[in-house]
Symmetry: C2
Subunit: 427 residues, 2 copies
């Protein structure tokens, strides 16, 4: 009999317990052994309506480690008590299943190594993109070859907001408000729209795909706050959608990992991921291009991913061999600094309508060896005299781009800042 | 040391050997034990250029079962010698990995049961949709809940032809010719364009998702031969793409499984699967909607899926418990006969340009309790007098639709047959 201790009984915790109870027979058959939920811990356990005679309830989360459960299911979130709980569980030879992206991205190097040392299982399928089976696929189907790149639309809040700005022509604030009303964005949305959530997730995927320590501390993170409706329109005219994307790629001894909005060609399937849906695209040496699409959040979808790790735990116990599936960092690869990354760029700027402006911009770019792949000069916006100029450049190193932009912004007839958005390069 | 015998040394066989040799260290690490290719068998082995001192070569395929290899990798195809080989391998307690969809769809019930009886492993990830990890995902992540439906664009030849007809405005024959030139279609393309290949694949997915015997013998199969360029244009006007789709769904005690062309709403991500790419969409009780997209064919992609089964084999050996992952039929569910299935339909017919034709058609449909969701009457085609009429109906049972069509086709001013295409219903 495998005894499960559930820590954190919010939306995902309750969905997890519902799922296990609804499909207990099926799960037992798949596990090849009996399972039960033996204890549920939540700081506000007294406020929860769920009752069961066979389950113990406690508000003392850390006390679960003193119970006789075999597996801790950590659904608390954050890196405070969740970290203490998981670390002490591993030290007590308990296995852990967690949906906590912050924990794995920020403390995963230590916790995965500790878990390996103690030959316990640690599963975190639900920590990236909810029900999308990307971790199992990376650790299983894609394990036997080199991964070239990962790119994900892995923050539902950002995707929803950008999609609403594009399909419903809402402004950023209005789109954020709808997201908040629908429960797709938190009251303080910074963590999502600032790109930090996506950064946690791409860090975890990079750890697995490239067998490196978590790159989280050092990756370049941009949110979607600087995306204006006009950029969405101009990108659309040029054949692109704007999405918030997290990318990672391995170049010989270096890893490039970054999170930012990007123009994605409408022909690329990543441009078709609408609403709150998530998708992860992986390019491998042998399997080619793969995309996994699904619900990246929500109680039932996230809980479904947590449940899938129970099977992995049983396999771990059955095999009783070294902890093969818990990839820990074997390569120490440096991260490319953002100034040294190459990209095509979308540039949008405002100019006074005087002769020679375009010539000045283009010659400045030419001096920096930047060529222009597309350019559109628009009518002035309503009630404005300034002319919007939009360009897409060839692929150049970021530091050259920054230096060119600095020059352009200092020109007499350029007003305000140049808005730069990367163009996603299809491999 | 795990010894692998490769049977069939065509494109996939050669890609498999290349993959194993290129990534041998990685695979060994992932398996937790040594592996090697010990023997390669192909009826035309003498024509193959590949040489290796450590591998034995033979043209006698069945002799591989007399060698000391532990796992047979069957890449021959078909149900003749491949069936004899796999059956005798299992009886000799050898495990089997196969990319053979015909074998699993037509002989899988017997072979999976035999494999379970003998506690051998049988893996067939590569048999459906090449590198798309749909079988692992169904057997692992989606295993612990009910699968509501499966829908797949799982024949690259059909998808390429329909995509060329749509995006390049080619006629059917011209599109088929390009497919043949590019190696996407066989010289005799019947098996692909007639829908039989997709039927094999959806049968295998249904076996796993619904734990039923293979439905292959009884499923309704339509190919894409009846799709005309004008249908692609008319569908496009109404907001749809035409794709060849295989679907399966479980309704209480019945299974509905069919293969046919369908109009897919352009808002549905399945409509965006272009070229030769494949995708499988799954709807689950808990995980919601999932879509896995990737290369459905090609040597390297298919071989990558074969390699992933080596890991499964090692897990099977390590666990040494009952053969959990080899789903065999536990439910005996009947198939819904095609006449009893419900769908929306696209109807396209030609009428003489006389008053009252439309009234006759619509009243005939009304008598059959079929309502019309959209109708367009087009200009006559060039050099023709007949008027094309296009309709999309509500969801009705197929037998009523057939009976209404029979009446419509018997009308004086309707010329020729009514072309009927199902509309894919999003769940």
């Amino acid at each position: 009999m495998i005894k499960i201790g559930v820590c954190g009984f919010g939306t995902v915790g309750q969905s997890f317990v519902d799922h296990v109870l609804a499909y207990q027979d099926k799960i037992i058959e798949n596990c090849g052994r009996e399972i039960c939920i033996s204890i549920i811990a939540d700081r506000s356990i007294e406020k929860k309506k769920f009752k069961s005679e066979s389950i113990q309830f406690t508000s003392d989360i850390l006390s679960v480690n003193n119970s006789d459960c075999d597996v801790i299911v950590e659904l608390i979130g954050g890196t405070d008590i969740a970290y203490d709980l998981v670390k002490s569980a591993i030290l007590k030879k308990k296995s852990v299943i967690t949906a906590n992206k912050a924990l794995i991205a920020e403390k995963g190097d230590e916790l995965l190594a500790l878990s390996k040392e103690n030959n316990t299982y640690i599963g975190y399928e639900a920590s990236v993109a909810g029900a999308i089976p990307i971790i199992n696929t990376l650790k299983h189907n894609m394990l036997n070859e080199s991964i070239i790149s990962l790119s994900g639309i892995i923050n539902g809040t950002c995707n929803y907001i950008l999609d609403q700005m594009s399909s419903e022509r809402k402004g950023f604030k209005e789109a954020l408000n709808s997201a908040q009303e629908l429960g797709y964005a938190e009251a303080d949305p910074t963590f999502d729209i600032g790109g930090f959530d996506a950064a946690h997730k791409i860090s975890i995927l990079s750890m697995i795909a490239f067998e490196i320590p978590s790159p989280y501390e050092n990756i370049h993170i941009e949110g979607i706050e600087s995306i204006d409706s006009m950029d969405i329109d101009y990108a659309n005219e040029l054949g692109y959608k704007i999405k918030h994307i997290a990318t990672a790629r391995s170049n010989n001894s270096l890893i490039e990992c970054k999170v930012h909005p990007a123009l994605i060609n409408k022909k690329n399937i990543l441009s078709k991921i609408d609403g709150v849906m998530n998708a992860v695209r992986t390019v491998g040496d042998k399997f080619g291009t793969s995309l996994l699409y699904g619900h990246g959040a929500g109680g039932a979808a996230t809980a479904s991913a947590v449940v899938s790790n129970i099977i992995d735990y049983c396999i771990h116990v059955d095999r009783n061999v070294k902890n093969i599936s818990n990839s820990i960092a074997v390569h120490r690869k440096d991260l490319v600094t953002i100034e040294d990354t190459f990209n095509q760029y979308y540039l949008r700027m405002f100019a006074n309508d005087v002769p020679g402006v375009m010539a000045n911009i283009t010659s400045t770019l030419a001096k920096h060896k930047i060529s222009i792949e597309a350019v559109t000069q628009h009518e002035p916006l309503e009630n404005e005299k300034l002319i919007p100029i939009v360009m897409i450049t060839n692929s150049v190193v970021f530091k050259d781009m920054l230096s060119a932009i600095k020059k352009i912004e200092s020109m007499d007839n350029i007003v305000g800042k140049v808005n730069l958005i990367r163009v996603f390069n299809d491999d």
